[in-house]
């Protein structure tokens, strides 16, 4: 059972936390990820960026087994996730924390019960001990104690995200996954979340993966940045990972696709979208009958 006291210090000499080999993900006829490989050392913060629909969230969910790969393998601390049954996967997941895009707090529970949920599920701590941990976590993410008895719908978006982070930290995870942690927040609250991500990282060198399209977050929290490109616009055979390096390398990269993304330039994208729309409409409109051909045959 994970102990609330921070007894173990993890650092980069430990084996990789996540290893992904030739990962491909397909949903029906729609392929989202193609041949992705990466190694995430302990203590590192990896930020995954890319346009909407490039598969960032799918990659994140594959990392903790919420989605099973179509091809390839995902290993957590050397253990292949695909070979685990439900019970083994549930046990492994106690070493993860996951902060969802909308926080994904349970509507029917109070904030305190939400944060306490993993503690009640996986530990034998008494109610008083759990209450102390919840109080400590609320303080760590900058939430007042008064929110403990509130329901998620009574909180603002930023407060829900912080409550979600508190819940993710409850079991002292080895790896924290963040899915678009600053989406929908104002710039100040976004930076508060960034600071909390950095603070969480400083907890025994926890490893983090942050999926975002917010370049300010990427530059602030990343040790390594990985950029994915949508398969729908990638020529066959080209790698889907179009960048992997430090934030400094990203800023100096000359690839026009990367520059367009990090500078937030629409460029020719609007006309490309209009062309795509016109192509889709043409494909869905049935062809008109050929009257002239038929008339020629009758004569």
């Amino acid at each position: 059972m994970p102990a609330p006291a921070k007894a173990i210090r993890r650092d980069i000499s430990d084996p990789p936390v996540i290893e992904i080999q030739n990962l491909s993900m397909r949903f029906g006829d729609h392929q989202v990820l193609r041949d992705i490989s990466l190694v995430l050392p302990a203590g590192q913060t990896l930020v995954v960026i890319g346009e909407s629909g490039c598969g960032k969230t799918v990659l994140l969910k594959a990392m903790n087994g919420l989605l099973r790969p179509t091809l390839g393998e995902v290993r957590f601390e050397g253990i292949p996730l695909a070979r685990m049954n439900e019970h083994e996967l549930a046990r492994i997941r106690t070493r993860y924390g996951f902060v969802f895009q909308g926080a994904a707090l349970f509507d029917s529970l109070t904030i305190a019960d939400n944060i306490a949920f993993p503690l009640r599920e996986h530990t034998r701590l008494s109610a008083a001990e759990i209450s102390d941990i919840v109080e400590s976590l609320l303080g760590e993410v900058g939430l007042p104690q008064s929110v403990a008895t509130m329901k998620p719908m009574q909180l603002s978006g930023g407060m829900r995200k912080r409550a979600g982070l508190a819940r993710a930290l409850a079991l002292d995870p080895h790896l924290i996954l963040y899915d678009e942690p600053t989406t929908g927040l104002d710039p100040i609250m976004s930076d508060v979340i960034n600071e909390l991500i950095l603070r969480a990282r400083s907890r025994d060198g926890v490893t983090s993966v942050v999926v975002t399209h917010d370049m300010h977050t990427a530059r602030k929290v990343a040790d390594v940045i990985l950029m994915l490109y949508p398969l729908s616009r990638l020529p066959p055979g080209e790698p889907q990972v179009i960048f992997q390096g430090t934030p400094h390398d990203l800023d100096n990269c000359s690839d026009p696709r990367i520059r367009q993304f990090i500078e937030g330039q629409a460029g020719t994208r609007l006309s490309e979208l209009k062309d795509e729309q016109a192509r889709d409409q043409a494909q869905s409109t049935p062809p008109t009958p050929e009257h002239s051909q038929h008339t020629e045959d009758e004569t």
Binding site: K61, A90, T94, S108, F117
Partner: protein, 289 residues
């Protein structure tokens, strides 16, 4: 000439392609349905497995029982009451024409406890409880709450499905008893107060033709109805499509599919239990007429 021949060839190929497409679509449709049934079966087995694998927590179970049982009491009682009264209305004129109106109690109560009480109460609950469960779980699915539960190493079936399944399994038969009681009461009140049927004849005939086996047969069926409502509704919610439209469709499908399953179960259970009744009453069924 060559144009006409090539047009005939194209038309033939077009027709052939059309037939091939229709057969392929039919095949895909059937495969999807079979896979769907298999999916529900696996989901059901996992649910039953979790009942025995780990004890339920009271703070998770009791709110579910309250939602399913206590809050459904008024609507089930009202349903039963009106079923009884409608039975009296519909049966009276036919029986009066044969001079058998005093046997109205037997007709109403036998129909109620064996068939109408269980089926209509289950149908009402499929609409009220089943749709609500599907909508709630569907909303949890589209807001990633179920993913969050899984990512914390907790099993969503244990936390979300088992309490609802146990609630339906235990409380739908209990609610059917209420529906039967109110139906019997409604049928009697209408027959005695408005149709003028004598109290003594009403209850004497009822006692003669309705026995404990009839009542228990009706209650026995409701265990299956309750299980069907819970499993189908929870499965629809867990597997709903994204967005508000997906949640709405899940809620609608939960009721429709539960209701159809109730009808199928009612038929087969009725056949089986009638055969069983022959064992208990080898002399044959008592004739009302």
């Amino acid at each position: 000439m060559s144009n006409r021949a090539s047009n005939r060839d194209s038309a033939g190929r077009g027709l052939g392609d059309w037939f091939a497409t229709q057969i392929a679509n039919l095949g895909e449709f059937m495969l999807d349905r079979v896979a769907g049934v298999g999916d529900v079966a696996i989901f059901s087995l996992k649910t039953v497995g979790w009942i025995f694998a780990r004890r339920q927590r009271r703070d998770v179970l009791l709110p579910s029982f309250y939602q399913i049982g206590v809050l459904s009491l008024p609507v089930v009682a009202l349903t039963g009451l009106f079923i009884g009264m409608v039975l009296a209305v519909q049966s009276y004129s036919q029986f009066r024409a044969m001079g058998l109106q005093t046997r109205l109690g037997a007709v109403i109560n036998l129909s109620l406890v064996r068939e109408l009480g269980p089926v209509l109460a289950a149908t009402m609950l499929a609409g009220r409880v089943g749709s609500a469960m599907a909508a709630e779980l569907g909303t949890m699915r589209v807001t990633e709450q179920i993913d969050a539960m899984e990512s914390m190493g907790a099993n969503p079936i244990y936390y979300l499905v088992v309490p609802r399944f146990l609630g339906c399994l235990i409380l739908i038969p209990t609610l059917t008893v209420m529906a039967d009681f109110m139906g019997v009461l409604g049928g009697y009140l209408y027959s005695h107060l408005l149709l003028g049927i004598d109290y003594h004849h009403y209850w004497t005939n009822s006692r003669e033709y309705v026995d404990a086996f009839d009542f228990l047969m009706g209650i026995f069926k409701t265990f299956f109805f309750g299980a069907a409502i819970a499993l189908v509704s929870c499965h629809r919610g867990f597997n709903c499509d994204p967005g508000a439209e997906g949640v709405g469709r899940a809620a609608t499908n939960a009721f429709v599919h539960s209701f159809m399953l109730i009808l199928v179960l009612d038929l087969f259970l009725g056949i089986g239990l009638d055969n069983l009744q022959d064992i208990f009453h080898p002399e044959g069924p008592r004739k009302l007429l």
